[in-house]
């Protein structure tokens, strides 16, 4: 059987680490197993690159990360508890909020309690457990900042909306904190992590436009809540850049690049709606 060179093994090892395999025991095993598979393929007169490509196709993209998640799930009790808590709290919180809106619209009793429980469930149980799960899965110091800033922005946002709807004091402060942590920490952290992706250099103009749009839009929302002037201008400019320029540009670049629509793009569209709908709601609430 042909042996792989040290350079070949390094290449395999780097590629696996790029897929965020952080569980050391599993990492070593996957490197060895993939190397064995490559050596086996090389027996039928393929060179390293061809054999490696064949093995990669056989494994499938993102599969290694899934194997790590499945392995962590069966081995690490803490991870299993966090993941289960995350799933249960996400469903409970969303269902409670859904019922709360239904009850609120129909003026039935207990809408307030359900909304409070739902929001607490999402902000204080779902978000912390999701943060724990992400940390266990990636163990990436560089991305920890991104996760923590997303956590705070999300937590303040949910609690802020709850306080606003319930007319409790402090809603404005929380929403402002949410937008500030979003503008100052989360958006720039996300922006830099996406710009670092060297394989997708072609998408940079779209990313830069998108982040300008989101930042202006969030500043607009913050100004709106605080009743400062020019919020309308900021919101209009942000929305225009985001949905009239950045999104179509991104769609075009992606279409040129891949020629098909992936699930990732559908998620992006749903995320766009997730930005639009709360913004419209807040605009309506603060206008009243």
């Amino acid at each position: 059987m042909p042996d792989l060179t040290l350079q070949n093994i390094d290449q395999v090892s780097n590629d696996i680490q790029k897929e965020e395999i952080v569980f050391p025991h599993l990492l070593e095993e996957l490197i060895d197993h993939i190397c064995c598979d490559i050596e086996n393929e090389m027996q039928s007169d393929l060179d390293f690159e061809e054999a490696y490509e064949k093995v990669r196709l056989k494994i499938g993209s993102r599969r290694l990360k899934e194997i790590q998640e499945e392995t962590l799930y069966v081995v690490d009790t803490k991870y299993r508890h966090m993941k289960n808590t995350m799933k249960i709290s996400a469903i409970t919180g969303t269902v409670l909020l859904g019922f709360a809106s239904l009850f609120k619209i129909n003026h039935w009793p207990s809408a307030g309690i359900m909304m409070t429980l739902g929001a607490i469930c999402l902000a204080l149980i779902f978000l912390p457990s999701a943060l724990g799960v992400l940390w266990k899965e990636t163990k990436s110091g560089k991305r920890l900042f991104l996760f923590i800033s997303a956590f705070f922005a999300g937590m303040f946002f949910i609690l802020g909306i709850l306080f606003k709807v319930q007319h409790w004091p402090g809603a404005g402060v929380m929403l402002s904190l949410s937008y500030l942590s979003g503008i100052i920490f989360f958006i720039p952290a996300l922006f830099f992590s996406m710009l670092k992706d060297k394989e997708r250099k072609i998408r940079r103009p779209a990313y830069i436009l998108a982040f300008t749009g989101v930042t202006l839009h969030m500043l607009g929302l913050l100004f709106k809540i605080q009743h400062w002037p020019y919020s309308g201008l900021l919101l209009t400019t942000g929305m225009t850049i985001l949905f009239v320029i950045a999104l179509p540009l991104y769609t075009w670049i992606k279409w040129k690049d891949e020629k098909n629509v992936k699930a990732e793009y559908i998620y992006l569209l749903i995320a766009s709606l997730a930005i639009l709908i709360p913004s419209v709601l807040i605009t309506i609430i603060t206008n009243q």
Binding site: I9, L26, E29, D32, R63, L64, E66, Y73, V74
Partner: protein
């Protein structure tokens, strides 16, 4: 190829039995052995093999040792004392399952009315 849904419940037993027969083995060797024994009908994927191996290790059924092989780390799995008794139980369980399945599959039409 045997469908993975059929394989799922007996995967642990297959791995344990092979380790009992062959002694310490690494992941790749286990997949090769299974393929060889079944004439390629059972192919263990990475995703099927490693979560099960790690689960068995965390349950104390298997232990691992490692050594450097061709500039990379190779991890070998061996049955523990507890593992040997688990294999026996699991094989009995699987045999019983196969027999039960057989009695269903080989049911002759009309026989139950005789």
């Amino acid at each position: 190829m045997i469908a993975s849904e059929l394989l799922k419940g007996s995967l642990k037993t297959i791995i344990l039995k092979i380790l009992e027969e062959e002694g310490p083995m690494h992941g790749y060797a286990i997949t090769r052995k299974v393929e060889e024994l079944t004439g390629g009908k059972i192919k263990l994927t990475y995703g099927a093999l490693y979560p099960v191996l790690h689960k068995l290790e965390s349950e104390g059924v298997l232990v691992t040792t490692s050594e450097i092989y061709n500039n990379r780390m190779r991890i070998y799995y061996t049955l523990t004392q507890k593992g040997h008794s688990v294999v026996k139980e699991k094989i009995e369980e699987l045999k019983e399952f196969i027999q039960s399945l057989q009695s269903i599959i080989e049911l002759k039409p009309g026989l139950s009315y005789a």
